[in-house]
Symmetry: D2
Subunit: 260 residues, 4 copies
Amino acid sequence: MALRDQEDVIHEGSFVLLYLDGKRKYLTRAEKGHVLHTHRGYLLLDSLIGLRYGSRVRSNVGADFVALQPTPWDFVLKIARKTQVIYPKDMALIVFKLGLRPGMRVVEAGTGSGALTCALAFFVRPGVVYSYDVNPSFQEVARKNLERAGLLDYVVLKVKDVTQGIDEEGVDAVVLDMATPWLVVPHAWKALKGGGHFASFSPTINQVEKTVVELKKQGFVDIKVYELLLREMKVEEGAVRPETLMIGHTGYVTFARKAL
Amino acid sequence: MALRDQEDVIHEGSFVLLYLDGKRKYLTRAEKGHVLHTHRGYLLLDSLIGLRYGSRVRSNVGADFVALQPTPWDFVLKIARKTQVIYPKDMALIVFKLGLRPGMRVVEAGTGSGALTCALAFFVRPGVVYSYDVNPSFQEVARKNLERAGLLDYVVLKVKDVTQGIDEEGVDAVVLDMATPWLVVPHAWKALKGGGHFASFSPTINQVEKTVVELKKQGFVDIKVYELLLREMKVEEGAVRPETLMIGHTGYVTFARKAL
Amino acid sequence: MALRDQEDVIHEGSFVLLYLDGKRKYLTRAEKGHVLHTHRGYLLLDSLIGLRYGSRVRSNVGADFVALQPTPWDFVLKIARKTQVIYPKDMALIVFKLGLRPGMRVVEAGTGSGALTCALAFFVRPGVVYSYDVNPSFQEVARKNLERAGLLDYVVLKVKDVTQGIDEEGVDAVVLDMATPWLVVPHAWKALKGGGHFASFSPTINQVEKTVVELKKQGFVDIKVYELLLREMKVEEGAVRPETLMIGHTGYVTFARKAL
Amino acid sequence: MALRDQEDVIHEGSFVLLYLDGKRKYLTRAEKGHVLHTHRGYLLLDSLIGLRYGSRVRSNVGADFVALQPTPWDFVLKIARKTQVIYPKDMALIVFKLGLRPGMRVVEAGTGSGALTCALAFFVRPGVVYSYDVNPSFQEVARKNLERAGLLDYVVLKVKDVTQGIDEEGVDAVVLDMATPWLVVPHAWKALKGGGHFASFSPTINQVEKTVVELKKQGFVDIKVYELLLREMKVEEGAVRPETLMIGHTGYVTFARKAL
């Protein structure tokens, strides 16, 4: 039971997000013989099989967990925790701005841990994501994450330097999360179909500037650069306020479209 | 040719976003005998038929437009311009956080002009959106917008007061954009399947507070309240800065999941 | 009665901020024979003389105004409305970060309309602000504003190009609001006393980058760059929310201190 | 040598901010026989006496520090680090919005650790701050901080419950940083002179709502509620970006003025 499916009942192998409280959630699978150890006791993962999603399960020390079906949001937050720069809020913006839909063909670089790859594949399947990365070890990590997510069938992992060229043609979108996106702009132009989407995530404003200069030179139109700030609110009755600590910056997202 | 499809070539009836510059875009359709009047001259919409998306077309006074395929982002920005409270950035967050996917069944209220309905239908089709609104005249506007978007087949419009109850059961998500979301919380609970998603957009913090109190009382878990700030960057070479004017607030989005 | 003084009673010539409602305030003076025309009727300004600040006065059509003593905040908002880039929030940050106090000597450039000059002079008087601008016509505008504010005695207006050098030595602070602050960094270094403050306001990130590079090269320490976002809240009982429209960006403020 | 003075040379007893790098600064005094221990070695504080501010001093292990004169910004950041809710950015807004100037009389509550008291006293001296707090132990901490800052002469510390009344009359401003500011509104009205300023800092939106309701009921005008977001920028040549982690919320500041 993979991330791509939707089910009411937990099967063997299904992903489960075990929710304890607002700060503690565990992404796991309902696998026979496996055990999840938490700060609030352990859970036999066998016991999840056959339950309906939303059910409460109890650890050996009596802590109550809720067994939820993870969404791409939960998934990318968990698989990418260490190397993560691009956050779910930014991925959401890309998915919606590009209007990703089943059957689309998307080029992505770099693969990294595969978090963004998962998000893209989730929305374009049974389409395909061609994911470039020069680093084979990153791609191995991504392959495992995509396999676990049940999305590997919709991804072609390519150990290649995307600044040297893109093999595909007539693709719907090129999505970049890499250090030198401006070097890919001419290749993206060639790879994209008419009206196709370019999207690039960059932490620094200098990367954005260079990329926009290239996009204009190349003839892209509808160039937009956005930054999203996500504030979480702390809501107690009679005491509502934004959270004190906040991720103040992840990066800027640059969008453009190919004019023929 | 509707919003839901993806095509390389513009057919009769296809939606076209005619891009002039960063501030001026026109959402129209390639219809025989129709003319689009702009501040930079007029265009015969016949002439779009048969062109590839991304093509440049010229108005009678020589202004160049690019004929792009609109995405949900462009679409909801245009159809909802006057009554708009919920913005594309917020819709994007909802779509991604809920992991909307083909086949899902979603309850929505209120319908309003149908902008959010379009966004939901776009991602769940061939699933279905049950959209409630007490106001029949709103639903007529929404029906036209959904029909134009080619998404009406995936929407059941209901002239009903959702605070009195929800007819559906076992739905994947309940999505609210209405004045009194807290009154719908018990109905949402009954309508949702285990682990199902509750999402509510509200401009004021008081609405959020009341809704969260009800969600806790009802036993929902993983309650999160977010506010998204979207900054647009103005990128000229050697002069990069955020835009001076900004939409400072649209609303808060409250998320929760049903625990059995 | 100038901005610099504090009084309980309105004298002839005193500044008065006539408050009608949250959106409409009029900065004027209690001058004999003068009349203030508003959308809600006219007021004889004679009639203000002798009143206590805080008093209500009525226009000829019966609209109630409150006669308030303006603060630097009100003053700079009014005198600088057209050319304004640096906002009161940014001036406040500079005043507090630098610890401006009576007796300090501050170099400022460019003078512009004199809004920032007023703010600086207000806090350092009976110290002095040396204010540079190449444009004599700007300085004439500033002179009038400073005179009206009763702060001209504490300002030396200099029609000079500050990128060519600063005449003063041993000053407490150099405060810049100009297009090329990085060209002033070596001159600021010479002009400042040990530990003295450098502050520069710039709308674009490129200006900030060049300035910080120069500051590091010159040996400045404690370099900090801040951006302030000011959100106004709309507070009605039961309906509290941030304002929809917001000034999303004014500029960045760069601070540094001179190490000997 | 206290915070209130400005000097070029470090005297015995002078405050010194020893700057090591962007993250490490030490607030200390030039006291005979005292030693400052840091992660980068120790410094004999005797050795500071007689130096000019801005001078570099070296620890026993060869680390270079710069001896800066602290401003209120540095001071309140250091003395209030543990209990701090109101930040320098918010204090700056209050100082500037109220136009605090020498000679003013201000009522403050609660005293807390005295951080805000210091800031107010710094700008109104030789005026006076009447600072209320029910908790005598807080006031002892504040007394020490004010004494060290050389500002105690301008502060009257009162162990009293400000919600029961304010003793002073005709004051220029009432500034609150306490849990129940709305209970003080009628007392503030009585204490303020005509046109006088009310300012209140509150972390939650519910406190703001109650306070604004009371301010309107009491007849205050020019009611404004602001929230300030301070973003720090990370500026390396060719790699400029906002800092990843940010204080996302400190509180809201409510302003109002007394109409007679």
